[in-house]
């Protein structure tokens, strides 16, 4: 807009204002608004330049012109501010009018998983740690001495048939005459013997770990996992064992489930008993009504237990006239299968992705 040099300063100011006011509604962005501000109020802006007219009017009119100038400038400032606010509001309206469908998102990456046996073992460890047990493990290739003899399972005794055991050959490069006969431990009990030998009494441990037996059928794998508990101290009783198992079952499967014993035989305990828990899978808070998992009996067989045989204590350097103890053991794999409803043992060791990926956990 070229200034009309013939017009009076007042007219020129009015024209500038008019020009501003007609341009303002065309402004649709902050940048344009800034450009407009520069165009009128910048160093060479149309209004700014009119300041130079001050010198050309008679002094008597200067005041009036100065006031007019300020009015125009103020009007432009206000116009700009108003437009700026409107623009911001329009932008906000526009932003708020966006609609994004957040029900449509890419599939999350599939989380990695822990094997159900690992999960179950860890949870068992957690519960028993809370009950005051230390966690111990030992070698998988173990001396027959610790696997049997120290546990009151004598050579040539039928009790050895209770588990069909893998024996380990000595290496050719180191035949070592008279070396102890070695086995793949058929139970985690050698850890009990080792712990008693090393630490004496009192002692309270669980020994979870991998075990091996020469069994391979739909319900037995040559490798499986066990957990055993041992508590040796003065005045330890079978009632204490029951209390511990009761608390364990409550913490692991749910409060209020009963535990019962049935007399049985395990060479390393005397008296010995199998222990069952009330079936947690058909339990209504009072009664287990019977389901497929407990074969309609209302009870689930968990494992073996009993008072540590005095011969075992003697063999492991503990005086059975001073100390008594109890021990229990059960299978981790079966526990995992029960908890998760795993239908077949083979799922445990095949490594099928479609099986493994199901076992998400915290």
């Amino acid at each position: 807009m070229a200034a009309d040099a013939t017009a009076s300063p007042q007219e020129q100011l009015d024209a500038a204002l008019l020009a501003f006011e007609s341009a303002l509604p065309q402004v649709s962005s902050e940048t344009q608004l800034y450009d407009l501000q520069v165009q009128f109020l910048g160093k060479n802006g149309a209004v700014t330049k009119l300041r130079s007219l001050m010198g050309k009017v008679p002094p008597a009119q200067r005041k009036e012109l100065g006031q007019a100038f300020n009015r125009v400038k103020q009007a432009i400032d206000e116009g700009l501010a108003g437009r700026k606010l409107a623009l911001a509001q329009a932008a906000r309206e526009l932003d708020l009018s966006r609609h994004v469908d957040l029900t449509f998102v890419p599939d999350p990456p599939r989380p990695g998983t822990l094997h159900p046996i690992t999960q179950t073992r860890r949870e068992l460890e957690q519960v028993f740690r809370r009950l005051g047990f230390d966690v111990v493990d030992g070698p998988h290739v173990e001396a027959e001495l610790y696997s049997f003899d120290k546990l009151n399972i004598q050579p040539d005794h039928p009790a050895r048939d209770m588990q069909d055991t893998f024996f380990i050959a000595r290496p050719e490069h180191d035949p070592r005459e008279g070396a102890p006969s070695l086995v793949l431990r058929p139970h985690t009990s050698p850890v009990q013997a080792r712990t008693m030998l090393r630490y004496g009494a009192p002692v309270r441990i669980i020994a979870p770990g991998t075990t091996f037996r020469r069994d391979d059928d739909p319900t037995h794998s040559p490798m499986f996992h066990q957990i055993e508990g041992l508590y040796v101290d003065r005045n330890v009783t079978m009632a204490d064992l029951k209390a511990t198992l009761y608390r364990f079952v409550g913490a692991f499967f749910g409060e209020g489930l009963a535990v019962r014993f049935r007399p049985s035989y395990f060479p390393f305990v005397e008296p010995g008993a199998e222990f069952d828990m009330q079936c947690a899978f058909c339990f209504d808070g009072q009664v287990s009504h019977g389901c497929g998992l407990c074969k309609q009996s209302g009870w689930i067989e968990l494992g073996g237990s009993g008072m540590v045989h005095p011969a075992v204590l003697e063999q492991c350097g503990i005086d059975p006239t001073v100390y008594t103890g109890w021990a229990f053991g059960f299978g981790i794999d079966r526990m995992a299968m029960l908890r998760h409803g795993i239908s077949h043992l083979r799922h445990n060791f095949e490594g099928d992705l479609r099986v493994l990926e199901q076992f998400t956990s915290p």
Partner: protein, 853 residues
């Protein structure tokens, strides 16, 4: 072991309810007997009910051949009321007047078949004449069951023969209870539990007074292996089929009837638990037996025709010349009782249990006899009872007369009396049990008590309970019979301080790495710890001494002596075969990409030269003789190959998995060439993971040959593993103050031979930076950027236009900052120039053309 309730009821002196489980409230019903047995520690596996409600005795009145079938006869059968026409194909049909088992129309056979009137080649048959097997009362299916002539036609068969109607309970007997391997022992437990009087098996015809002691009948040479041997000489024996009740009884407990002599010995075996053997005395050289150990290589042919070469550890019953029985296990063919035998030598013995077990195992001959002898039979009262019972039954059933006997004895076991403080029972169990109750139970089980000292009873266990040796054994008996239902769940007070045992650091590390690998979207796999020999050998090396922790020589493989199958011939020395199996399993079943990991032990014998950590403590002597079981943490990723040569994407991913798992436990691995290339990885796609100057793992792409051998060539596989024993102890984090002053960066582009790895470049730059120290107080250094937290970032590894073939361009960004001040451009530029120059000097040694682009 199978228990006949009919048999038990005779020993309990009262009837048991053997009908199916409707009478749950009757303590003497089979279901409740079974529940009792389980509570007594004789775990019940199952119950089976038998009955033949409509099978009757039929009299053959007339037999005419079938007009149209040469093998069939038309029989007019009298059922006590009327005569019925039946067609029968048996060849052993008795003559007119003979009695048979008859299933009339409407009767249901045990296999579920309901008989109806039917035509056989035009002749109507109104029922069926049955065999033992059809009635499930015996194993003779050759012909029909012929009954004694004197039986009344029309009588119900099951009313005439005890045991046809029966409930059979299967129990599993634990090895400590040899007494429960006979009905008598089980009945003794039940009698006490049910409050009945135990009725011992009858001996109606005792050994006659005329029988004379005949010491020469038995020569006991190996008295230590056979402390007692009762021999009886019997004459006028008539060998034939046993009476029906005896055959039924044996069938109910799972035995096959042979002949009356053998059947009697088996009956007494299942009654008392005492095995016995009858020899044909006529066929014994010298008509006598010698109890001795075999000479090595001595031959014997057993009853079932197996030829054995004996060991000098075997006990045999020989005649004057040769072994006639493998003692306690099985008789010999040569002196077997059969048709025509008239003179018997009956053996009732007590053998040393362990030796019997060794013999039985040596020849894999597990028999009902060896099963009992190796668990130890009675050497006193019950042995004598069994002998008397057998002699008596043989007389009744086969007519045999006992004319002489010999009771050869050596040193018999002397059961030691046990001292029991009755209060100790309650103290051990944690419940109160009255002394009277304890005494009632122990006496009921045959323990002789002397209670004159109220706090120290003298208890003599019966000789048929070899398992009762200590006071806890007696406490167990009390517990069994008193029951555990009232046992409270009550913690005992612990007067002593429990020590906290040290944690196994490797186990903790294994758990932490498990979590680390799992966090990388990998799935944990657990594979069997066995592998095939050829799979194991893929990883063996001849490097001597070993150059990295996973090196092992073939002789270090750990092998089971008795693997179950060839594919499980040795313990895994490596985790890859198990993971590969799982990968192959998956790739054969679906097309998804997969990532698995496993953290577990491998098994290796130490080399004699190994400087393994010397074991300590009371188990050290054993521990020195054990293989090592180091932990490995391995990851594998697999996917179908895209077609073009793989760019190592999965190998990189696995390398990253391992580095990330280490980072999660606070360890930072550097990547550089492995100390020794792994032969099972692609020679050009493998990397070592290093912490300091120790290699702690390796990763890469599987060798194409290995993939081809596994039929996996269509796939790309990345694998890597960490050796936990090589990892340093987990560091406790030491806090470093946060950088408060900005740093600055310099970019650097290098042109290098492609075999120079970025790791080598990083190492060169880092060492050059370390060497260009300045003397000022707080000089600028190569230092972590804010993001990523690394002093040198690798921006790009470029190959292609503008770079010669065989070379690559590495674009790097170096971060510089000082500790407590802002750096100036000039000082950083000076340092950077020094660093670049120093690094280039190192790099040009291996690649003279190395230059800054």
């Amino acid at each position: 072991m199978l228990l006949s309730c009919t048999w038990l009821s005779e020993l309990l002196g009262r009837p048991l309810d053997v009908s199916p489980p409707f009478r749950a409230d009757d303590p003497f019903s089979a279901v409740n007997i079974a529940a009792r047995l389980t509570n007594l520690g004789l775990e019940v596996e199952g119950i089976e009910y038998f009955e033949l409600p409509k099978i009757i005795v039929g009299r053959v009145d007339e037999v005419t051949p079938h007009p149209d079938a040469s093998k069939l006869n038309i029989v007019q059968l009298f059922d006590g009321a009327r005569t019925i026409q039946v067609v029968c194909g048996a060849s052993n049909l008795p003559p007119v007047g003979g009695k048979v088992a008859f299933a009339p129309v409407g009767a249901v056979l045990p296999d579920g078949l309901e008989l109806s009137e039917r035509e056989l080649r035009g002749v109507v048959s109104n029922g069926m004449i049955c065999s033992e097997t059809e009635l499930r009362i015996g194993s003779d299916g050759e012909g029909i069951l012929v009954l004694p002539r004197e039986w009344e036609p029309g009588a119900l068969l099951q009313d005439l023969v005890p045991g046809i109607r029966d409930a059979v309970i299967e129990i599993s007997v634990t090895p400590n209870r040899p007494d429960a391997l006979g009905h008598l022992g089980v009945a003794r437990d039940l009698a006490l539990a049910l409050g009945c009087e135990l009725t011992l098996p009858a001996v109606p015809v005792p050994v006659p007074d005329t029988a004379k002691a005949m010491p020469e009948l038995v020569t006991l040479e190996a008295g230590d292996r056979c402390p007692r041997y009762l021999g009886y000489a019997l004459e006028d024996c008539s060998v034939g089929a046993s009476p029906l009740w005896l055959r039924v009884r044996l069938h109910r407990v799972g035995l096959r009837a042979r002949n009356n002599v053998v059947d009697v010995t088996n009956l007494v075996l299942f009654e008392t638990g005492q095995p016995m053997h009858a020899f044909d005395r006529q066929r014994l050289d010298g008509e006598r037996v010698v109890v001795r150990t075999a000479t090595a290589g001595e031959p014997i042919t057993t009853l079932d025709g197996i030829k054995l070469e004996l060991s000098d550890d075997d006990l045999v019953i020989a005649d004057a010349k040769a072994p006639q029985a493998l003692a306690g296990v099985m008789g010999g063919e040569g002196s077997m009782v059969g048709e025509g035998t008239t003179r018997l030598l009956l053996e009732v013995a007590f053998f040393e249990p362990r030796a019997i077990r060794r013999s039985a195992r040596r020849y894999a001959l597990r028999t009902d006899s060896s099963h009992r002898f190796e668990r130890q039979v009675d050497f006193a009262g019950q042995l004598e009872l069994a002998a008397a019972r057998a002699v008596s039954l043989l007389h009744q059933i086969s007519g045999a007369r006992c004319v002489a006997y010999c009771d050869a004895q050596a040193k018999l076991p002397v059961p030691a009396p046990i001292t029991l403080d009755p209060d100790h029972v309650g103290r051990l169990l944690g419940m109160d049990i009255a002394a009277d109750e304890i005494a009632r139970i122990l006496q009921g089980l045959g323990v002789t008590l002397d209670q004159s000292n109220a706090q120290a009873w003298r208890c003599e266990p019966p000789s048929f309970r070899p398992d009762l040796g200590r006071n806890v054994d007696l406490i167990e008996e009390v517990m069994r019979h008193h029951g555990l239902d009232e046992l409270p769940a009550r913690h005992s007070s612990s007067p002593e301080e429990l020590m906290v045992l040290p944690e196994d650091p490797v186990r903790r590390l294994a758990d932490a790495l498990t979590d680390g690998l799992r966090a990388n979207d990998l799935h944990e796999h657990v594979s069997l710890a066995f592998t095939a020999e050829d799979q194991a050998m893929l990883f063996a090396s001849e490097a001597e001494p070993p150059r990295s922790p996973d090196d092992f020589q073939p002789t270090q493989l750990v092998r089971p002596v008795n693997p179950m199958r060839l594919q499980q011939g040795c313990m895994r020395p490596h985790l890859l075969p198990g993971l590969l199996d799982a990968v192959a399993y998956n790739l054969g079943r679906h097309t998804r990409a997969l990532g698995l990991f496993e953290v577990g032990r491998v098994y290796l014998w130490p080399l004699t030269s190994d400087q393994a950590a010397e074991p300590t403590g009371p188990t050290a002597e054993i521990d020195r003789c054990l293989p090592t079981e180091p932990y490995r943490a391995a990851a594998i990723r697999a996917q179908r190959a895209s077609g073009s040569a793989p760019a190592g994407e999965l190998a990189r991913a696995v390398t990253r998995d391992l580095s990330a798992a280490l980072a999660r436990v606070g360890l930072h691995a550097q990547l550089r060439a492995p100390a020794q290339p792994r032969t099972w990885l692609h020679p050009g796609v493998q990397v070592g993971l290093w912490i300091g100057d120790r290699q702690v793992g390796v990763a890469g792409e599987l060798h194409p040959d290995l993939l081809a051998a596994r039929d996996l060539s269509e796939h790309e596989l990345g694998y890597g593993e960490l050796w936990l024993e090589a990892l340093p102890p987990l560091p406790t984090v030491q806090f470093a103050d946060v950088a408060r002053f900005p740093g600055t960066t310099r970019d650097l582009s290098l042109d290098l031979d492609q075999r120079i790895s970025s790791a080598a470049v990083l190492a060169a730059l880092t060492s050059a930076a370390a060497d260009s120290g300045s003397s000022t107080d707080d000089p600028p250094r190569l230092a972590n950027a804010d993001e990523p937290r690394r002093p040198i970032e690798l921006i790009e590894d470029y190959r292609g236009a503008g770079v010669e073939a065989g070379r690559h361009a590495l674009l790097l960004r170096l971060n510089y900052r000082a500790g407590q001040r802002s750096v100036t451009d000039a000082e950083v530029q000076a340092l950077h120039d020094k660093v670049v120059a120093g690094a280039l000097e190192q790099l040009t040694r291996v690649d003279p053309a190395a230059r800054v682009r």
